[in-house]
Symmetry: C2
C-alpha cells in the first residue's frame, strides 16, 4: 500500500458485476491509491468513466498485476484460473468472484457475516461464493448460531443479470418483440455455451448453468456444496432447485429449513433475524410487507420475510429471502471481503 | 337432456376462465343441446362469439337455471354461494370453479385423474380445485399409488392470468411503461381487494390471495387443504409457498416430496409418470428438455420434468411441474368433470 491507499485492480471491468464492483468501491470510499481496470482482449480498449475520470480498460496479462495490492476478479472462470495465481505471485491478494477456486480446500470461501475468520487462512486467493448461496447463508447463519441447522430445501427465483449484461439485454429486447408481436431468436439464456436457448420473457426456465451427471445443474450443486463449506457444516442436508425468471436484478429464494432446537416459534426466528448483521427483516403480513426483487435493487442487504413455522414439522420453518444479486451476491460481497482483509491486516 | 344434447350454462362467461370454458366445450365437442352464457349484472349485455354464432350474455339470476342440465360456475365465490344452490334446486348439476364449496364435506372436490369416483357422492355441486393444486396432484397421485406419499413441500411460480384477465392487462401495460420509462400505478396485483398493490413486471410477489391468521396466504392454505382432501390423505404433510411472477399463462411448481417406499430410484419415478393419465414427462437433462410455461399454453396436460432423487433423504425426490392454469387448472378440469359426470350417468 502506498501512502495514498491501495493499488486495486478490477478484472472484468466492463461486465455486469465488474461495473458494480467499480461503483461499489466508489460508494464505499474504498481506500484506493491507484485503480487499474482490466479485461479480456475482446473488451480491452473500452473506456470506462469512474467518478468523472476516464479509464481505458487494458488487457489482463500476468504483468498487469505488478504492484497491485488487491485484485477483484470477475471475468469468468478460465481467466481466474490462468491469472489469479499470477497476481498472487506478484504479491496481490485476489478476491475471485468466479467458481474457479471455490471448492479448493486451501481457498477460503467467504461471506463476511458468516465466516470472516476463514480469511486468516488465505494463501493469496479468497473466493467469493455464488450469488444465490451468499444471500441464503446470510439469512441462515444467525438462525444456526441460535438454534442449530439440520436441513435446507431451497427453490430459487433468479434474475437474468446473474447471466451477465447481455442476458439482461436479451430479456428486454425479447420482451419488446413479444409485446410488438415481432419475431426474436433467443441465443443467450439459459446458458450461453449450452446447445439450446429458450425464451425468457414471460417464461420460467428451470436451468441455470449446465446439467451435471446427477441431473442437478451446476448452479444447484454450487448452492449445495458452497453452503456446507461456508457454514462449516459438511453434514448439513441441502437441496436446491434453481430457476431463471424474467426479472432483471434481484434473486429471491423460497427456503424451507429445519433447526435442531425444539419448541422454537416463528416469532423467535424473526427476533434473531431482526438484529442479524447484513439482514433487513421485512415481515408484516398484516401490512403486506415482504421482500421483493424490485425493492432490493441497489441495496447491499439481504431482505427476509414470510417467516412461518411449518404446519406439520415441529422443527421446520419457511422464509423468503431477496437480495440484489449484483451487490451482496457479487460486487458488494467482494468489496466487503477486501475491506475486511484490510481491517484484519491481511493485505501485505 | 334433450335429444340434441345437454343444456349447458356458463356463469362468468366474459372472464378469463369463462372464455376458456366456452372454447374448451367447443374444442372437446361437448354434447351441447343449448348453451346459455351468464354473468354478473356488470358484464350482462356483452356479446360473445361462439363458433361464429353471437351470444348475448345474460345476468345470472335464480331463474336463469330453469331447464339447465349442467352449470359451470366461474364468476367468483359470492356468485357461486348465492346461485349454485338455486341452480341445483332447479335440477342442474353444478361444477364450481370457485373456492366457495371446496372444503364442504358433502361436496366432492375432483380432479378426474385422481379421485373420479368421488363424483358418485355428489349432491348437485362438484367443486373444481384451485389451479395450483390440480396440476400438483395429477403428478403426485400416480407416485402415491405405486410408492405411497408422506410429505410435500412446494414453491410455486404462478402466472398472472390466475388473477383474471385484467391482471394480464396490468402486467402487459406495466411492462410497456417500464420499457418506455413511463410511470404506472399498480392497482390489481397481488390481490385486487387487498390494501396495497405492487409492480408485477420484472418482479416477484410472494403473496397470492389474502393472508390468513397463521401468516400463510389463502392460496397456500388452499394447496395444503385441497391436496389432502382430493388425495384422501388427511395426514399428508403439505407445505406451500405461493409466488406471483411476470408470466401471462402457465403455472410452474418446484415440488419436493417424500414417499413411503424405500430404495426407489428417480428412474422408477420417471417410469411411473411416463404412463400416468394426464401427464406428459419431459425429462431429458442431456437434451435440455424440461417443462416451461411458454410451452404449455393451450395444452390440457400436466408437464413434469427435472426429476431427481434428493442427495440426503433416501425417500425424498424433487420435480418441476408445469401446466396451463386456465386449462387443466380451471376450464379443462371443469369440462372434464362434466364429461365424466355424463359418462358415469350422474347427470339427470
Amino acid at each position: 500500500m502506498s501512502q495514498k491507499g491501495f493499488h486495486v485492480a478490477v478484472v472484468g471491468a466492463t461486465g455486469a458485476v465488474g461495473q458494480q464492483m467499480i461503483q461499489t468501491l466508489m460508494k464505499e470510499k474504498f481506500p484506493i491509491g491507484k485503480l487499474t481496470l482490466l479485461s479480456s482482449a475482446r473488451s480491452a480498449g473500452k473506456k470506462v468513466n469512474v467518478n468523472g475520470e476516464e479509464y481505458t480498460v487494458q488487457e489482463a496479462t500476468p504483468d498487469s498485476f505488478e504492484g497491485v495490492d488487491i485484485a477483484l476478479f470477475s471475468a469468468g472462470g478460465s481467466v481466474s484460473k490462468e491469472l489469479a495465481p499470477e497476481a498472487v505471485k506478484r504479491g496481490a491478494v485476489v478476491v475471485d468472484n468466479t467458481s474457479a477456486f471455490r471448492m479448493e480446500t486451501d481457498v477460503p470461501l467467504v461471506v463476511p457475516e458468516v465466516n470472516e475468520s476463514d480469511l486468516y487462512h488465505h494463501k493469496g486467493i479468497i473466493a467469493n461464493p455464488n450469488c444465490s448461496t451468499i444471500q441464503m447463508v446470510v439469512a441462515l447463519e444467525p438462525i444456526r448460531q441460535k438454534f442449530g441447522l439440520k436441513k435446507v430445501i431451497v427453490s430459487t427465483y433468479q434474475a437474468v443479470s446473474g447471466a451477465g449484461a447481455a442476458a439482461v439485454e436479451e430479456l428486454m429486447d425479447q420482451t419488446k418483440a413479444i409485446l410488438n408481436k415481432e419475431n426474436y431468436e433467443p441465443n443467450i439464456l439459459p446458458v450461453k455455451s449450452d446447445n439450446k436457448h429458450y425464451q425468457i420473457a414471460f417464461n420460467a426456465i428451470p436451468q441455470i448453468d449446465k446439467f451435471q451427471e446427477n441431473d442437478f445443474t451446476f448452479e444447484e450443486m454450487k448452492m449445495i456444496n458452497e453452503t456446507k463449506k461456508i457454514m462449516h457444516l459438511p453434514d448439513l442436508q441441502v437441496a436446491a432447485t434453481c430457476v431463471r425468471l424474467p426479472i432483471a436484478v434481484g434473486h429471491s429464494e423460497s427456503v424451507y429449513f429445519e433447526i435442531e432446537s425444539e419448541h422454537v416459534t416463528a416469532q423467535e426466528i424473526k427476533e434473531v433475524l431482526k438484529d442479524a448483521p447484513g439482514v433487513v427483516l421485512q415481515d408484516e403480513p398484516e401490512n403486506q410487507l415482504y421482500p421483493m426483487p424490485a425493492d432490493c435493487v441497489g441495496k447491499n442487504e439481504v431482505f427476509v420475510g414470510r417467516i412461518r413455522k411449518d404446519l406439520d414439522e415441529p422443527r421446520g420453518f419457511h422464509m423468503w429471502v431477496v437480495s440484489d444479486n449484483l451487490l451482496k451476491g457479487a460486487a458488494w460481497n467482494s468489496v466487503q471481503i477486501a475491506e475486511r482483509l484490510i481491517e484484519l491486516g491481511l493485505v501485505k
